[in-house]
Amino acid sequence: MIAAGILRAAPTAPCAPWSRHVLTPDAWAALVDALRNDRDVALLSMWADSQLVYCLFHDIGTGDFIPASVQVDAGAYRALSPVRPAAAWFERMIHDLFGHIAEGGTDNRPWLDHGHWDQHAPMSPRATPNLMAAEPPQFLPTEGDDLHQIAVGPVHAGIIEPGHFRFTAQGETIVRLEIRLGYVHKGTLGLMRGKSPRAAARFAARLSGDSTVAHSIAFARAAEAAAAVEAPARALVLRAVMAELERVANHLGDCGAIANDAAFAFLPARFGWHREAVLAAAFGAFGHRLMMDCVVPGGVAGDVAEAGILPVLAAIATELPGLLRVYDDYSSLVDRMVTTGTVRTELVNRFAAGGFVGRASGRDFDLRRAPGYAPYSDMAFEIPLLQAGDVDARFRIRAAEITVSIDLLRRLLAGLPDGPLTVPLPLATGEGIGWAEGFRGDIWTWLRLDGGQIASVFCRDPSWLQWPLLQAAVEGNIVADFPLCNKSFNCSYSGVDL
């Protein structure tokens, strides 16, 4: 409770819906010290602009979400990574984009900056010419007998995003995996600055293509919070329809892909068939298979033609139990899944990992329930939870969530309110936080508007807190099981690379 007390004692700055606590460098240092022995406060997000470093904390005991910030003093701030290991990637990102140094940080190697940009700290007003040597990157050391390294990527064997995996193995057993990302850094946050929310929404929609709806909702809600407007009721329900369709489509794809990595071809064939049906239904209903740009700040871009959705859902609901029986019946398949890539509950809690990664390891967290948002706040629905934390548990959470989402979709479509689709966004000045539960987990978007234009923005993809756990999950597994572990996490590269 000590850390939360320090946060609450700090003066606040306006931010909707939760005021931001403005800490002095001394109070920030005291907070870092207090967090060392205080497990009640989780770090959900960390970002910066040219003046301040921001954090979003979750007070687990009271359930409060607390934004906080500290002034960067002489280009530096006290690092959070010694007491919250998940902060390390954020601190490296903040350093590479803004040049702020995390003093006492556990890892000060470059992250997004691979030495190929013209400038160092390109988001900073004082960007300097980039003098950093591009390659090779430095990897963490490993000690022991008979170790060998396997370098994979950035160009992977499958049809997936680029990243580099550096395995250290002893025989077939993985001793350490280190993930190096940043290859698809597009400078998205920089492109969003200076634009209206409506124009910047196109970038939020392209932060991670498979979560385009969820990121668009989180972004739109942040913009609406900052401008103090609320999207109309019909738009809120249509957003939820899109979000649940996106969740079903992605979970179907993942369930098939996980089985595919165990060389079991029947399940990807059937799950892929249903995934295609959902994407085609989304096209029929909203005009785009992935529903990209269909959610806009202030509402939704167009109305729904919902006729094609329900038959597709019925077909999935009919076949899903049979597919899960097939999954259960083939011991050669289950044998690959159970006890593979286990993540302990203690670890998902320490990293505040959301989505199926957290819920398969006993972390009961879903933004649709807490803090909640319309229209989910008025709906009762189950949030599947398992404890085992292995590939099998992450598969089963997805399968269970498909059923829940189908039920939600039926209720949402049955209760579609009439009314307008958008409200205009005033040219406001303000700060807001928006959130949405994507298929991967909790998405948090913070932004500040200045005269109707985006002055600063950060979109936190769930993968920020899941990738590091993949590194932990594969430890002690055999190299051949890495694809299974990786697919069961299915983290976003583009969402983290920004």
Binding site: L112, H114, H116, W117, D118, Q119, P122, A134, P154, V155, A157, G158, I159, I160, E161, P162, G182, Y183, V184, H185, K186, G187, T188, G190, L191, R202, F203, R206, L207, S208, G209, D210, T212, G253, P268, A269, G272, W273, R275, E276, L279, F283, R289, L290, M292, S492, Y493, S494
Partner: protein
Amino acid sequence: MVWRSIARTLRQCPLTVAPETVSDAATQDLADRLAAASQRRLGRSLAIRQVDAGSCNGCELEINMLNSIVYDLERFGLRFVASPRHADVLLVTGPITRNMQDALRRTYDATPDPKFVVAVGDCAVDGGVFKGSYAIHGGVDSTIPVDLVVRGCPPSPAQLLEGLRLLLEANA
């Protein structure tokens, strides 16, 4: 049980979409052209290596659907391979990020001649919405020569199939 299963199978159509519905009768056309064109140039099949050089992953999602039983790319002799050394076609997505430019060029160099490059998605044309960013080098043709562009954000699997057909036509 077995008889019921056989009876059901006989009643049902194949799950893979009929070629006509993919792109207005272009599918059968594609099969014919493949038989004629690619056989002359590269034998009976084209091996495709996909490279994400900076995309948001949207294009990859749709490219992946080509492998599903609905589109079943392999019936046309088109298949995805794991190494550029096995490939005839590079299917490149994304605005070319500065951090991926080197990897893309090296993948291209590792692909044996004759080879074709298909730029997939609006970003691959000229950087798309990401054009002008400090982290973006440009479209695919800023780094390697492009034979064909398949537009879309992202292009649908049907559009991707059609693009591969055009590639064959252009090189026949």
